[in-house]
Symmetry: C2
Subunit: 414 residues, 2 copies
Amino acid sequence: MEDLERIGQQAKKAEAVLRTLSRGRKDAALNRAADRLDESEEQLLSANEKDRMAALEKGMSQGLLDRLTLTRERIRSMSQGLRDVAALDDPVGEVTGMKRRPNGLLIGQKRVPLGVVGIIYEARPNVTADAFGLCFKAGNAVILKGGSDAAHSNAAIVSVLRSALAEENLPPEAVCLLTGDRSQTTRFMKMNEYVDVLIPRGGASLIRTVVQESTVPVIETGTGNCHIYVDESADLAMAVEIVYNAKTQRIGVCNACESLVVHEAIAESFLPMLAARLAEKNVELRGDKQARAVLNTIREAAEEDWGREYLDYILSIKTVRDISEAIAHINRYNTGHSEAILTSDYANANRFLEEIDAAAVYVNASTRFTDGGEFGFGAEIGISTQKLHARGPMGLRELTSTKYIIYGDGQIRP
Amino acid sequence: MEDLERIGQQAKKAEAVLRTLSRGRKDAALNRAADRLDESEEQLLSANEKDRMAALEKGMSQGLLDRLTLTRERIRSMSQGLRDVAALDDPVGEVTGMKRRPNGLLIGQKRVPLGVVGIIYEARPNVTADAFGLCFKAGNAVILKGGSDAAHSNAAIVSVLRSALAEENLPPEAVCLLTGDRSQTTRFMKMNEYVDVLIPRGGASLIRTVVQESTVPVIETGTGNCHIYVDESADLAMAVEIVYNAKTQRIGVCNACESLVVHEAIAESFLPMLAARLAEKNVELRGDKQARAVLNTIREAAEEDWGREYLDYILSIKTVRDISEAIAHINRYNTGHSEAILTSDYANANRFLEEIDAAAVYVNASTRFTDGGEFGFGAEIGISTQKLHARGPMGLRELTSTKYIIYGDGQIRP
């Protein structure tokens, strides 16, 4: 308990220094941290090797093991990530909406850091450097709780980052790493006095746990049951390529397409074209009755298929009578991530953009673009699927808050 | 349980209608609700009389009884509140930052309603109409949980609002009232499936309970331990009037001044002037050693005084060596609400604005201006003292979220 309390106090103290730090000093520290990571390659690889050995021994799956593994290339990509963040504009300090009130008060809103950001994530050591870089550039101290399977790797990375901060005469406590057990994490999620926001990064169950247990404000990131609705008027050749891309370009990501919604008038012409293209990647199709009337060898979609985020080579297919049914179906089953309509109809495009309730709504494009890099933010800390504070890809700006600044010359309230 | 589930479903359904409602229809409904409140005066007063009788019987304090009481004038002020909100700009639908990406995608951010807003508040029936008006204008359905002492009053008000909505062919479930017991409220705070945000309005203990128990995202409003720092270079006559205003103009509010921080170099000249003025309202002063050396009859401030929100005719006084000590003291004890510096020094004014961590930071003005009306927002749902989503007075804009809208012409991710 004392340990955690001390970490909270240290992070809070570091935050007060970071709050007013110039861009120049922040960028210098990020670049120095990048250099130090590069120079510490051997030491990082050997720490990672310890984690890998332990993971192999306990029989970790290939996928998780891959995420845990550091290579020379991945270390270079971590350090390059820090340099990229250094090159981004500093969001802190911008003043917007400054207006003079009738009583002469001049009131504006200034962008400021959030304060202390907590990140809870799985055994992916690259997140350690990434999360630090983004939080730091936005003027925040960060407390990291990484998966315990990456304990040696994370400790090594944080130690490198901290010594780079110290070399720049900055408080090393700007990045803190929790190394305690589960009960420490539980207490961490209730440290409202020291932590301004928690961002869980990982699978659905990690995120659920943080949402359920935390009293600190949480930004929910994550799960995407993304739909593409192919309207009656869609360009079918374009539609085949977009669905193929959104389903198969990368399957394990939250912005991949999981469900196709198709207008019944084109089901007969479109579905066979699409099925042929998806067969190249052996995508399993699961359809409703009407879809199966066209593609008669495919499996029947059960009710639970409509709500599934497969993260796999599987696509559910729902046929609808019209765009109203499509919108109702999507708004019922989606997870508020990314949804697309493929259409050449002006009114339908507008209606879909207006009525679909999701972080990102597309016309005639793949859902795979929901990403901080693709949106032009340079980097992202995650994709928010909730509506408070930030919705969609979160860049540096979303790691800040605001405060009102008010210039007076003696005003009192009558 | 079923009841609460049904209310959640109904609110969600109503929200889907409100989401795309034109400003004209929203304003018409607000104005009709205002008319109906005026016409229902007798019925509202007699419902309120039942609540008042029960409250008197159980010996409710005068202050609480006053907040519970409806009068003809207060009903007119409720209906006028709805008309005022109808006259405000609709925040929904604005698109900002639309930019063309190198691949041709056109990406913008559109302002949309939050969805379903939950308000938990004390026995103040006027909040029922106010909260509905603001949430509705921003396109949200609202679920209200008012203090049980106002049960009859709230039921009567909500019934009037609902019939006005029905007359406008809008779903009455756009405003729902919870009438269950405490266990219902506890379950309500965990209805993440149906409720997008909870806003507690009331005293510190109500807010603490909601923050602790809720899994739905909460916007914390409220407590203000506000400081005024009188710098060495302050105009002392101006300072007397600002402190007098911030302390005494209204004592029971969150933006009232609770603590004075004064530069030691002017303590001897300033404190007697201020004490004389505050004596007009019999303000009790509690000072540190140096303050008591000047004002030798005042009580000594204990450590717990620095953190107290008195909401009373009491002011604590802390003397400091310089602005650094003032900033450190304020950042240690404040609640992130409103803080002011009184100074004629350019560098000190800027430094205070930069380094103080609070929702509103003032130079040479009373902290009493932290208010949606005074900031020009027309109305407010509360003053956020947290950093996520909204900080400071929350108007219609803070009752909205955003979504990304993306126009493509066949883009796929390479």
